[in-house]
Symmetry: C2
Subunit: 224 residues, 2 copies
């Protein structure tokens, strides 16, 4: 489902290059559950943004379902993103919508009928423990509650491919464990392909395989 060939990413700060990714190659099969770990600043979010078609590599090839993303136009790239659930490191919730509105939005964009959307949104928000916080806006939610809205939003459309950037950083170990058990079920029962960036050992153990990043390269790629 994913083939990464020698990709690099260089950010330009004026004249100074920052080499966030220095040549990465790996493949992901459909239904795999991969953890991506590594020190702060090692390039994990940059890599996930490439895979999620949110940004383009500076060089190298990235094939999603056999299509080379560097050949796609911006519109086609946006289309590719619709089939991928994405949890951002800082959630990127829409401030003027409440929890329910944020989770409802991807269903509305996909053209799901209103009554079905209401049922599905409440089901997913309940599955992440937020049944009593549906009408709270981001500013009326705790850090970990916002994070869980972001997880609910990523899974509500039943995507076949889900990317998560540190989904439990603001959660206590019990709540974080419950969220990741839910996500593990999606992988085991529905064959959802998962790539999760994490600093959490518990997630590392749940994954099939772990990519260790260090300074913009993959230091090791090990089956758990």
């Amino acid at each position: 489902v994913l083939e990464v060939e020698d990709i690099t990413k260089t950010y330009m700060m004026g004249e100074i290059p920052v080499n966030a990714l220095r040549g990465l190659s790996f493949e992901v099969e459909s239904g795999e559950y991969i953890a991506v770990v590594g020190p702060s600043g090692s390039g994990k979010s940059t890599l996930l943004n490439m895979i999620g078609a949110l940004d383009r590599p500076t060089s190298g090839k990235l094939m999603i379902e056999g299509v080379d993303v560097s050949t796609l136009s911006d519109n086609q790239l946006a289309d590719t993103r619709k089939n991928v659930g994405f949890v951002f490191q800082f959630f990127n919730l829409i401030p003027r919508l409440d929890a329910r509105g944020n989770v409802d939005l991807p269903l509305a964009i996909a053209g799901v009928p209103r009554s079905e959307r209401k049922k599905r949104t409440e089901e997913v928000l309940t599955s992440v423990g937020l049944e009593d916080r549906m009408h709270h806006k981001s500013s009326e939610l705790s850090g970990g509650e916002r994070q869980r809205v972001a997880v609910a939003r990523a899974i509500v459309t039943n995507p076949a491919f889900i990317l998560m950037d540190e989904p439990t950083g603001n959660l206590d170990s019990k709540t974080g464990g419950e969220i990741m058990d839910l996500v593990k079920q999606l992988n085991e029962k529905q064959g959802v392909t998962l790539i999760v960036v994490t600093h959490d050992q518990y997630i590392g153990q749940q994954a099939d395989r772990t990519l260790h990043m260090l300074d913009g390269v993959i230091a090791s790629d090990v089956v758990n």
Copy 2:
């Protein structure tokens, strides 16, 4: 240095009350290092905002250095905040300033001369591992790098009292351990009073005492 007597905090969502703090009482001596732990949504950030004079309790007494904060005007409250270092759960960095500008700001407000500010800012950013990221703005930093800028900004003025809301959520365990060892040194060597909200077991072990919060109350207050 801190006396909390039966404080409550109720947020109003239209007509519906949300009781985030339901009656908390405890005292903190100068030089203590306290960890505050508890499930997502249990009221930790709300409590820290009260102690940091960023918000007022709905009822109850909160005395900082013997002064009851509920008797203070907004200006006096702002003055109180100047002596307290605060790390926000989502950092609250100023987007148009780079890492150095964000750490320099509290020194500039305190009237420290420019040459001394430059030296001190570089020293503190180096102590959190960001010597090569001083000229990056927030949008040009990784999640954990932003978090470390927020920690550097809270300690740069050498405050006697530091409050941290989940300072390591976006850091790998090695980097997080280095940051908290640095903070522990401030407590042991300089007698800085520390209250740290955390989901990280390592911090829990470093503290002298742990307040366990549950549903807006203190479930237990134990010496480690």
